[in-house]
């Protein structure tokens, strides 16, 4: 069991954004996490990655370790990488540096070595840079390595965010709407990259996505949230026909573009 949450809850004022979710994820699984707007998907991510503190009584275990009260960087050290809905690339840093920050935990020298500039440090830096350039080549951004992230297009930035997460060499990769804002062609491209990553590195992946096609095509199992609660879980086909899910999506007023997106999926 790579990730398990028990009674995971988080409230903001009176709003229960996540309400007692029990969630289990096996090693090597690709899981989809869907749900209407405001159903608590992003909050769930923020809780698992330690950015929010969960309420009393919640428990999160990652790889058998209790991480309920861990700070984000310690959770990252356990091999949990994530992307953000709003990307959050380091825009005033170069593309290569973005990846290098992602690789932070695997750069094997301390501050003293850095200051002294030991041979080990230099060799390590060279290795790291070469490796990150390889990764950049894999996601197709190698030519932009020395450019600032702010100079990239939105699509490229999305790839960069993914690359940064990959640079962390994660066991668990959490993707928060990786396809949002991409053109259909780029969505295909992204799907290829995700599948490629999974096959190449044997990752465990959770994907939050509005474009249901992405989830349905890549995930073996899908979890559906609504109002902070888990309302369904199963294979894509099971979920598609689940009554509660249909109700969650269709049984309320939907915004135009949301309907379109659902239908598209």
């Amino acid at each position: 069991m790579l990730l398990r949450t028990e009674n995971l809850s988080k409230h903001f004022g009176g709003l229960r954004a996540v309400d007692g979710i029990d969630f289990e994820l096996e090693e090597g699984e690709v899981r989809g996490l869907i749900g209407p707007n405001g159903s608590g998907k992003s909050t769930f991510f923020n809780l698992v990655s330690g950015i929010y503190r969960p309420d009393e009584g919640s428990r999160i275990r990652i790889g058998g370790q209790d991480t309920t009260h861990f700070e984000p960087h310690r959770i990252a050290a356990l091999g949990v990488a994530r992307t953000f809905q709003l990307l959050r690339v380091f825009s005033e840093m170069t593309v290569l540096e973005n990846l290098l920050v992602g690789h932070h935990l695997h750069v094997a020298y301390g501050p003293v070595a850095a200051v002294l500039g030991t041979r080990r440090m230099r060799n390590e830096e060279r290795r790291v840079r070469e490796e990150m350039m390889e990764l950049l080549a894999f996601i197709g951004l190698a030519d932009f390595a020395a450019m600032l992230a702010s100079e990239l297009s939105v699509g490229q930035r999305r790839l960069l965010a993914l690359g940064r997460a990959m640079a962390m060499r994660p066991r668990l990769l959490m993707l928060d709407e990786p396809a949002a804002g991409l053109s259909p062609v780029n969505v295909d491209n992204l799907l290829r990259i995700i599948v490629g990553l999974k096959e190449r590195y044997g990752l465990t992946v959770i994907i939050v996505e509005h474009i249901l096609r992405v989830v349905m095509d890549t995930c073996e199992k899908v979890t559906v949230l609504d109002h902070g609660q888990k309302i369904a879980e199963g294979t894509p086909d099971e979920v598609k026909t689940d009554h509660a899910v249909i109700e969650a999506y269709l049984g309320r007023e939907m915004e135009d573009d949301e309907v379109r997106r659902v239908l598209q999926g």
């Binding site: 903001f12 929010y52 005033e92």
Partner: protein, 296 residues
């Protein structure tokens, strides 16, 4: 016991002075999310303009007050339009532009001080006004200035508070304060609102300058120490809250007076900083704190 009472009267009276200056700072913060480090110099310029108006046109004190308000407000709008516009567009607060804003404020502050030096020179000026007999509170004789400061601080606070909460324009201002982009989409004239807030805050600084002038005398370096105390007041009361600014001023005034009274008086100005730091560390929202926007 008598001494304690005297300290309290003194602390309260200086506290409302801090509070009056803190009002403008708080308004800028609540409206624009900027901590304006050049506000002390605006206060100084307001005081000088008041004197200039009196000596040129010979209008009575109240006229000078209104005149200084108008002119300083206009100066504020110009400063905002010409210099801060680019930065306010980028957003204040915690953004990178917010850091630029802080640095810019410091630069503006020394530049304005130099400009004032070139115009008015380094000599301190008395305020050509007399209010007659002071008010006696116990053993302390308070000049009437303090009374006017208290009254105008309360009036300004009440008027602004009503304006912000009860009028349509005030609603627009608050919308801008909350989220500039959304307000823009909602059809609020955001640049005009920003100029309005800045102008009004600068006009309030002029009120402070003219009213405090008779106590403080007017000279180019008068802004800095006052600014620090006013910041302390604004923070202690809860940054961005107008009643909080006044309350904060009183708390800071009392605190530093009592500390100076019963501890080492030479370190008087350090006590205000200690209060500022403690409040920020323990309760960043201040005494009447507004809810800090959650960002994640």
């Amino acid at each position: 016991m008598d001494l304690l009472l005297d300290f309290i009267i003194v602390g309260l009276s200086i506290g409302i002075v801090y509070g009056l200056v803190a009002l403008g700072i708080s308004l800028i913060f609540s409206g624009l999310d900027i901590v304006h480090f050049a506000h002390g110099e605006v206060y100084m310029i307001g005081a000088f303009l008041g004197i200039a108006i009196v000596s040129i046109s010979g209008v009575p004190y109240f006229g000078a007050l209104v005149g200084a308000m108008i002119v300083t407000g206009a100066v504020g709008v110009v400063i905002e339009r010409v210099f801060y516009r680019r930065l306010t567009r980028g957003g204040g607060g915690y953004t990178v532009a917010g850091m630029g804003m802080i640095i810019c404020g410091f630069g503006m502050s020394v530049a304005l001080q130099n400009v004032a030096y070139l115009i008015w020179g380094a000599a301190p000026h008395p305020y050509p006004v007399s209010f007659g007999m002071p008010i006696f509170l116990g053993n302390i004789a308070l000049p009437k200035s303090y009374l006017y400061i208290l009254v105008s601080a309360l009036v300004l606070m009440a008027v602004l508070h009503t304006f912000l909460t009860r009028t349509k324009l005030g609603l627009a201002v608050r919308a801008v304060a909350y989220n500039k982009d959304t307000s823009y989409l909602m059809g609020v004239n955001v640049p005009a609102m920003i100029s309005l807030i800045f102008g009004v805050a600068c006009a309030m600084a002029a009120v402070a300058g003219v009213l405090i002038g008779p106590i403080n005398y007017v000279q180019i370096e008068m802004g800095y120490l006052m600014l620090l105390k006013a910041f302390a007041a604004a923070v202690v009361g809860g940054f961005g809250s107008l009643p909080g600014a006044l309350l904060g001023g009183v708390v800071v005034g009392l605190f530093e007076t009592l500390c100076a009274g019963y501890l080492i008086a030479s370190y008087k100005d350090i006590y205000a900083f200690l209060l500022l730091i403690t409040v920020l560390m323990v309760r960043p929202t201040g005494l009447l704190g507004i809810i800090v926007k959650v960002k994640a």
